[in-house]
Amino acid sequence: MPEIVAFNTIAAGIEPEVEKVQARATQVGPRGRKPRRALSGRNIMIYGTLIVVALYYLLPLYVMVMTSLKGMPEIRLGNIFAPPLEITFEPWVKAWSSACTGLNCDGLSRGFWNSVRITVPSTIVSIAIASVNGYALANWRFKGADLFFTILIVGAFIPYQVMIYPIVIVLRELGVYGSLTGLIIVHTIFGMPILTLLFRNYFAGLPEELFKAARVDGAGFWTIYFRIMLPMSMPIFVVAMILQVTGIWNDFLFGVVFTRPEYYPMTVQLNNIVNSVQGVKEYNVNMAATILTGAVPLIVYFVSGRLFVRGIAAGAVKG
């Protein structure tokens, strides 16, 4: 199946290169040309550009934090880049516990807990299913498996809008439309192509002798999975987890389409709070709420570092 082989090269081709990036960055010892003077014109240009670019990237984060720490009178008077004269945490408290969406005034906390209740089971279920799929595809191929896998991968490119209504019907038939269970199923479905690809490539890269030796010793499908594959593949499970946690937490479309308002995830609730038309706009509360919503993926990003890069390099295929 040339398609599948080629798709491998996309995902797998990127990963080793990322490794190489790391490898070269950590290389020590004399190498390359003679070191130049630190303040050559070229260096000033390179670092100058990079610093300006870095400031540009950091600016929105800075403005968010500053705005969220000001009172509304100060926002009306001052400029958005100025640090607060008087630091107040009231916007944060309000955003968390009493900001209004429509008639509900219990703040973002509800959305936060909904997102937790969506993200945790979705991540676990989607990874469990996709890793077993990937394992079956890598080590226990059966007739037709490659065909289904090709459909799955091609399906990853189909816009979600094409498939959401049929899924609504399927979920309604199953009686889970609007519930958290329904949304978890949806996240499992749409996470499947990329995760299956990720696990399949990883398992296929493990030494085949291990698998054969276990077979000779009489181990079956599940024994090999739980006793050999799973313990050997912790890094890829972590990558998959990062991918899923950030992806599912940041989702908006599926949350809006497949859940009832009381189960809306944090992103949907945030949008409803900030873009609600009634009432006076409280920009400081809005920014505090925005930071709170962005906090989880940001923390995952800063803690996981290099693994996140690996995850998105693989996840980039998802688009």
């Binding site: 040339p2 398609e3 080629a6 990127i14 290169e17 960055a25 990079l50 670019v53 870095a54 990237y57 950091l58 929105p60 984060l61 403005v63 926002i75 400029n79 079956a136 595809l137 226990w140 059966f142 289904f148 459909i151 799955l152 399906g155 490119f157 816009p159 979600y160 809008q161 094409v162 498939m163 209504y165 049929p166 899924i167 019907i169 399927v170 479905i189 499947m192 299956t196 499908f221 950030t246 940041n250 989702d251 908006f252 479309l253 809006v256 992103t267 949008n271 900030v274 873009n275 920009y283 809005n286 920014m287 925005t290 962005g294 940001l298 990003y301 996140f308 890069v309 390099a313 980039a316």
Partner: protein
Amino acid sequence: MAGHTRGSGRPNQWLRNLNAKLASIPMILTAVVIFLGGTVWTVVYSFTNSRLLPRLSFVGLDQYERLWAAPRWLISVQNLVIYGFFSLIFSLAIGFLLAALMDQKIRFENTFRTIMLYPFALSFIVTGLVWQWLLNPEYGIQSVVRSLGWTSFAFDPLYNSNIVIYGILIAALWQGTGLVMCLMLAGLRGIDEDIWKATRVDGIPMWKTYLLVIIPMMRGVFITTLVIIASGIVKVYDLVVAQTSGGPGIASEVPAKYVYDYMFQAQNLGQGFAASTMMLVTVAIIIVPWAYLEFGGGRKRA
């Protein structure tokens, strides 16, 4: 194999490798029922006059005719074309430039990369809301520049229907260029050090080396990145919802939002299906030639 039993005759073909088959049921269901079945279902129903509920009374191409006569759809498509074009050009150009800078054996590379990539961890909703605030004409960048003395300065893309799509573009580029930079950097690191040595010996200036040697060598990375960006562009939805909700008026509508609004709010399913089928066609136009170039036409490239 698991199903091999002693005795006469071949073991049942269906029972061979049974566990793997059982374990693959979720994948098979997803691939066949949702991806294949769902897509075919939507395309078929796009030829019906379904409104509140899907029903099979075919009306030929009526929905498509109505779609391409609707001003809102035309604006959506126009926006997508502008947004897509500039987003491709700028993210490839900026991404590559940044990657080239990062590849100059600089110090603090990890710090710079962390900073450039963090927006990618944020959702489109968060991105859209931050930029909505920064571009707020009363308090945002415009008012700051005005307070510095340049009182006629005007920069309010989100409230000007002629340029609103560029306001969205700014936010999208802020969010996505870090990823492009990372992919490009990975591509640059994949290039043999000897190429650089050879061009240096020949005295070719660096910009020329990049343009004439390195970029052609990175063809694969460029195409992969292009496909990734392009299939993301077609799906753009959350960002618009957060930043402008399609406004002012209908000036920043996009196809994905058209689909959602007609399916779940205007209760005009047929229009929604027709519009989503058009999205599918667009993606196919991007993906099929790429898939053909990369994987079809023999296996000339290793």
